[in-house]
């Protein structure tokens, strides 16, 4: 083979190889284009999914906050109901106990117990209006000097003001452990004051009078007086009957 033929053959071979290489490159390019298109599509889909997920997350966050708020509201309501139930329990027990006996001493003890255990004071005195006009005589007491507090006459003591208008007096600034008159509860039958409950020092750990204590005093003002009045009448009846 001559040098010319050799050269031509080489050129042809080189051209063929170049064409094959070019064709391979074009194929590869095509594949890459397809891959890029797929990736771009995936990317768009991923972006769509991300946006949807972010929206869902926002929705879930908002829902979670709603649920948390609702939960908080229910917890507060539950606490209120439990407190209310506890207060009602106090009132129910006090009322039930006051009217569970017609024995005078039992009624007096019950009044003391209610103040000691339900209000939270270990210094209490129960007075009854005596036959003598405007004279109040100590009928029962706990934790006070009974001799010193044996009786008082209206018009001579600072309790007058409290009993004069037959309204409950409470010192809402009285804190546990302070020696002071915390409450004066007139015992009324209709508009007539037949006695009084004086509450002095609150238990040391009791911070102050609570709303339920005021309700207990309201209840005592009416129910303790009727219970005590009935028990006294019962005692007198028994005495008359011998």
């Amino acid at each position: 083979m001559s040098a010319d033929e050799k050269g031509r053959t080489y050129v042809i071979q080189a051209r063929d190889e170049q064409q094959q290489y070019t064709a391979a490159l074009l194929r590869e390019n095509e594949k890459l284009r397809a891959a890029v298109a797929t990736l771009e599509s995936d990317h768009r889909r991923a972006q769509d999914q991300y946006r949807a997920a972010a929206e869902e997350l926002d929705r879930l966050r908002a829902h979670f906050e709603d649920v948390a708020r609702e939960n908080q509201r229910y917890a507060e309501q539950y606490h209120q109901i439990e407190t209310q139930s506890s207060n009602l329990a106090n009132l129910y027990v006090a009322s039930y106990q006051l009217h569970s006996s017609v024995d005078r001493q039992t009624v007096l003890n019950t009044i003391l117990e209610i103040v000691i255990n339900l209000v939270g004071s270990e210094q209490v005195a129960v007075y009854e209006r005596n036959c003598a006009p405007n004279r109040f005589k100590l009928a029962a007491s706990f934790g006070v000097d009974a001799k010193r507090l044996d009786s008082f006459i209206l018009g001579t003591s600072n309790i007058d003001r409290m009993l004069a208008d037959a309204r409950i007096f409470t010192d809402d600034e009285a804190a546990g452990g302070q020696d002071r008159l915390t409450a004066c509860v007139p015992l009324k039958i209709g508009e007539e004051v037949i006695g009084a409950i004086l509450v002095f020092r609150l238990l040391d750990h009791k911070p102050s009078l609570q709303p339920v204590d005021h309700e207990l005093f309201e209840l005592l003002a009416v129910h303790a007086s009727t219970a005590l009045h009935c028990a006294t009448l019962h005692e007198k009846t028994l005495a008359v009957l011998g």
Partner: protein, 128 residues
């Protein structure tokens, strides 16, 4: 399921009624005693799951009753909640030294009592 038994001990019928009223909605069997001696005897005889024990009582105080309950083989592990009008540290310390598990102060707070009772009964392995 067996109901949990709680022994309520207080010489005040007002407090016993109050405790019964507070615990009435939970599935407990409630038994009562009105003094320390009766409490110890009922604890031995009836083996309650929990005892609510008043401190100041006739015949035997709550502290003495608590010591007796702790000293008896069959009742030594029963949780005891002391119910006291004295919330100050020295009195609470006396409760611990006499073997009480927990304490609450009078006037009884229903929410606090229920929480402590439920908590102690669950801790004692008695499901609520």
């Amino acid at each position: 399921m067996k109901r949990k038994k709680i022994l309520l001990v207080d010489d005040s019928t007002t407090i016993l009624m109050m405790e019964k009223f507070i615990l009435r909605n939970d599935p407990y069997e409630l038994i009562t005693a009105s003094n320390g001696e009766e409490a110890v005897q009922k604890a031995i005889d009836q083996k309650p799951d929990l005892i609510l024990l008043d401190v100041i009582m006739p015949k035997m105080s709550g502290f003495e009753a608590c010591r007796s309950i702790r000293a008896h083989e069959t009742t030594s592990a029963i949780p005891v909640i002391m119910v006291t009008t004295r919330g100050e540290a020295a009195n609470v310390e006396s409760g611990w030294s006499n073997g009480c598990t927990d304490y609450i102060t009078k006037p009884i707070n229903a929410v606090e009592l229920l929480a402590k009772v439920r908590n102690l009964l669950e801790d004692a392995g008695v499901p609520a």
